[in-house]
C-alpha cells in the first residue's frame, strides 16, 4: 500500500531525512516514532505531497507521490502536527468544505458528515466557530477532516498531543476501529498507545531509520538479559549482595518506584537468558532472611527500547 525507497530530504546543507525506506501493508497500522526533530513530520510531508523529496521515491496505492501527486491526494487523509484549521469557520461549515473538496457524493454528503461528527465526538460543537474550541475539540475536528471521504490511507501526525487522558483513550479507540479498513501511519511520542494500536513500528533518529519491526520482535531482539523485578524488605546493601550470589545473575540494580521506605526497596536483577531464574531467586531471598514482597518478570518497555535506540547525539546507538 505504501512503499518508501531511499527517501531523502535536504534543506541546503542540512539533511533532515536520510535514505529512509519502509513499507506499510494494506490494513496495517504503522507507528512512526522518534525524538523531536528526528524527521518524522518531514517524512510525512513528503508522503502527502506537501514537500518534494530531494531524492528517493514513495508510492501510495501504487502511485508516485511526486509524479502523480493529485491521484495520491485523492486517496489519503492527513492530519498535520499543528492541526491547522480555518479559525473563522464553524465546524460543520468547515467539514462541508472539506467534503466538497474531496468530491464526496452530493446525496450522501450530509450523512457522511453526520457519521464523522458522531465518531469523533464533535456533534455538540458542530455550530461553534473553530477558533473558539478547546484544544481537544480542535484536534478532533482535525481528525474528522482527515476521515472525510473514507480515504484508504490515513497519515496522522501526533493526533493526541495536548489531549487529556480520557480524550487520548477515545482517539486511541477510534484509531483501533479505523485500523480495519484503513492503512494508517501514526506519528507519535506517546509510547503506551503505540503498543496498543500499532502492528509495527519504525523508529527514526537524526533522519535515519534505526529500527523497523513489530514491537514484539524489537523487544525480543533488544532483550539481552532476563530481567526480574523484586521488592524486598531488608537493608539494601545486604540484599543486593545476597542477590548477586545467585547462580546466573549478572547485574543487580536498584529501581525506583512506589512502596519504598528505608527498609523496603525495588530491584531489577539481570540474569542470563538460558534458564528461568525466578524460583531460584525467590528461594534465595527467603532463605537469606529477607522479606520477599513482590517478584515478577520485567520486560523491556517500548520506552526503554526507544531510549536505547535514540540516544542523544554523541553516543552510539545500541546496547551496553
Amino acid at each position: 500500500m505504501i512503499e518508501v525507497e531511499g527517501l531523502t530530504k535536504e534543506f541546503g546543507d542540512m539533511v533532515a531525512v536520510n535514505n529512509v525506506s519502509f513499507t506499510v501493508e494494506s490494513g496495517e497500522v504503522l507507528g512512526f516514532l522518534g525524538p523531536n526533530g528526528a524527521g518524522k513530520t518531514t517524512t510525512m510531508r513528503m508522503l502527502t505531497g506537501y514537500l518534494p523529496p530531494t531524492r528517493g521515491t514513495a508510492r501510495i496505492v501504487g502511485k508516485d507521490v511526486f509524479k502523480d501527486s493529485l491521484a495520491v491526494r485523492r486517496k489519503i487523509g492527513y492530519l498535520p502536527e499543528n492541526v491547522p484549521l480555518y479559525q473563522d469557520m464553524s465546524v460543520s461549515a468547515y467539514l462541508n468544505f472539506v467534503a466538497r473538496v474531496k468530491d464526496t457524493d452530493n446525496r450522501t454528503r450530509n450523512d457522511v458528515i453526520e457519521e464523522i461528527l458522531l465518531n469523533c465526538g464533535i456533534r455538540e460543537v458542530r455550530d461553534k466557530t473553530i477558533g473558539k474550541l478547546s484544544k481537544g475539540f480542535k484536534q478532533r475536528v482535525g481528525l474528522a477532516q482527515a476521515l472525510i471521504g473514507s480515504p484508504m490511507v490515513l497519515i496522522l501526525d501526533e493526533p493526541t498531543t495536548g489531549l487529556d487522558p480520557r480524550q487520548i483513550a477515545q482517539i486511541r479507540d477510534l484509531i483501533k476501529q479505523l485500523a480495519s479498513g484503513h492503512t494508517i501511519i501514526l506519528c507519535t511520542h506517546i509510547l503506551p498507545e503505540v503498543s496498543m494500536v500499532c502492528d509495527r513500528v519504525v523508529i527514526i533518529h537524526n533522519g535515519e531509520i534505526v529500527a523497523q519491526d513489530s514491537v514484539k520482535n524489537l523487544t525480543k531482539e533488544l532483550t539481552k538479559t532476563q530481567m526480574t523485578y523484586l521488592t524486598v524488605h531488608g537493608p539494601s546493601k545486604l540484599v543486593k549482595e545476597s542477590l548477586k550470589t545467585v547462580e546466573g545473575v549478572l547485574v543487580v540494580e536498584s529501581h525506583p518506584g512506589e512502596n519504598t521506605t528505608d527498609d523496603i526497596n525495588n530491584y531489577i536483577v539481570h540474569a542470563r537468558l538460558d534458564r528461568d531464574i525466578r524460583q531460584v531467586l525467590a528461594k534465595s531471598v527467603v532463605n537469606a532472611g529477607f522479606g520477599l514482597l513482590e517478584l515478577k518478570s520485567h520486560a523491556l518497555s517500548l520506552e526503554d527500547i526507544f531510549l536505547q535506540l535514540t540516544p542523544k547525539s554523541g553516543s552510539k546507538t545500541g546496547l551496553h
Binding site: 534543506f11 491526494r73 485523492r74 491547522p84 473563522d88 469557520m89 466538497r100 468530491d103
Partner: protein, 239 residues
C-alpha cells in the same frame, strides 16, 4: 470548476466573518461619498469621471487590502499544509480565490450605484459614459485584483503581500503620471502610455469601448493569474 466554486465560497464566507472586509468597504464608500459630494456641489459636475478617478486611487490601496491574506495568511497560519494536500489543482485554488475577490469587488461597485442614481435625479449625465465607465472599472478592478493575487502568492506575510501589491499598483499609477509630465509624443511616451493601466481606462469614461483596451486588461489579468499559478506550483516544488 466545482472546486473553484468551493474555494470561492469558502473565501467569501471568510471575508464576511472578519471585520476587515466591513471596515474596508465602509472606508471606500465613505471617501467615495465625500468625493461625490465635492463633485456635485462644488464643481456642479454631472459626470462620474472624477468620482471614478477617486475610486481608482482608493482601489490602489483597497484591493491589495482585500487580496493580501488570500495566500499569505494560509501560509502564516499553516492551513496551506492542508490546502496543498487536498485533491485540488493549483489553478483551481488560484481561480477560486480570485473569483472571491472579484465578487467582493463587484459588490463594492454595486454599492456605489446610488451615485449615478442621484446624478440622474438632479442632472443630465451621459448614460453611455456611465455604463462604459463601470465596465472599464470592472476590468480595471479585475486587473488590480490579479496583481494583488500575485503579490499574496509570493509571500507568507500578509503585510508584505499588501506592500508588494500596493507598490506595484502605485508604480503603474506613477507611470501614468510620468506620461503626462513628459507630455510628448515619441516611442517612450507611447510605451508608457500603453502600459499605464489608467490610460486604458480613460476611453471607457468617455463612452468608448475600445477592443484594444479590453484586450489589454484581459491580457494583464490572464498573465497575472498565470503567474500566480506558476508561483504556487513552484513553491510546492521548493521548500
Amino acid at each position: 470548476m466545482k472546486n473553484v466554486i468551493t474555494i470561492a465560497d469558502k473565501e467569501i464566507r471568510a471575508y464576511f466573518a472578519s471585520p476587515i472586509a466591513y471596515a474596508t468597504l465602509f472606508l471606500f464608500l465613505l471617501i467615495s461619498g465625500f468625493s461625490f459630494n465635492y463633485s456635485v456641489y462644488k464643481e456642479n459636475s454631472s459626470e462620474m469621471l472624477s468620482i471614478f478617478l477617486v475610486m481608482i486611487y482608493l482601489l490602489i490601496l483597497i484591493i491589495p487590502a482585500i487580496t493580501m491574506h488570500l495566500f499569505a495568511e494560509e501560509r502564516k497560519s499553516g492551513t496551506i499544509e492542508l490546502l496543498m494536500t487536498y485533491p485540488l489543482q493549483d489553478w483551481e485554488v488560484v481561480l477560486g480565490k480570485f473569483s472571491a475577490g472579484f465578487l467582493l469587488f463587484i459588490g463594492m461597485m454595486l454599492l456605489t450605484f446610488h451615485f449615478p442614481l442621484f446624478l440622474f435625479m438632479w442632472g443630465n449625465p451621459d448614460p453611455g459614459a456611465i455604463v462604459t465607465g463601470y465596465l472599464g472599472l470592472l476590468l480595471l478592478g479585475g486587473t488590480f485584483l490579479s496583481i494583488g493575487l500575485l503579490s499574496t502568492s509570493l509571500t507568507s506575510s500578509p503585510n508584505v503581500a499588501f506592500m508588494i501589491g500596493a507598490g506595484i499598483l502605485f508604480a503603474f499609477f506613477l507611470l501614468g503620471r510620468i506620461v503626462v509630465v513628459i507630455a510628448g509624443t515619441g516611442p517612450i511616451a507611447d510605451f508608457l502610455s500603453y502600459i499605464s493601466l489608467i490610460e486604458h481606462f480613460r476611453n471607457f469614461t468617455m463612452g468608448i469601448i475600445n477592443s484594444r483596451d479590453i484586450v489589454f486588461f484581459l491580457s494583464v489579468i490572464f498573465f497575472m493569474l498565470f503567474a500566480s499559478i506558476r508561483v504556487v506550483e513552484i513553491r510546492r516544488w521548493k521548500s
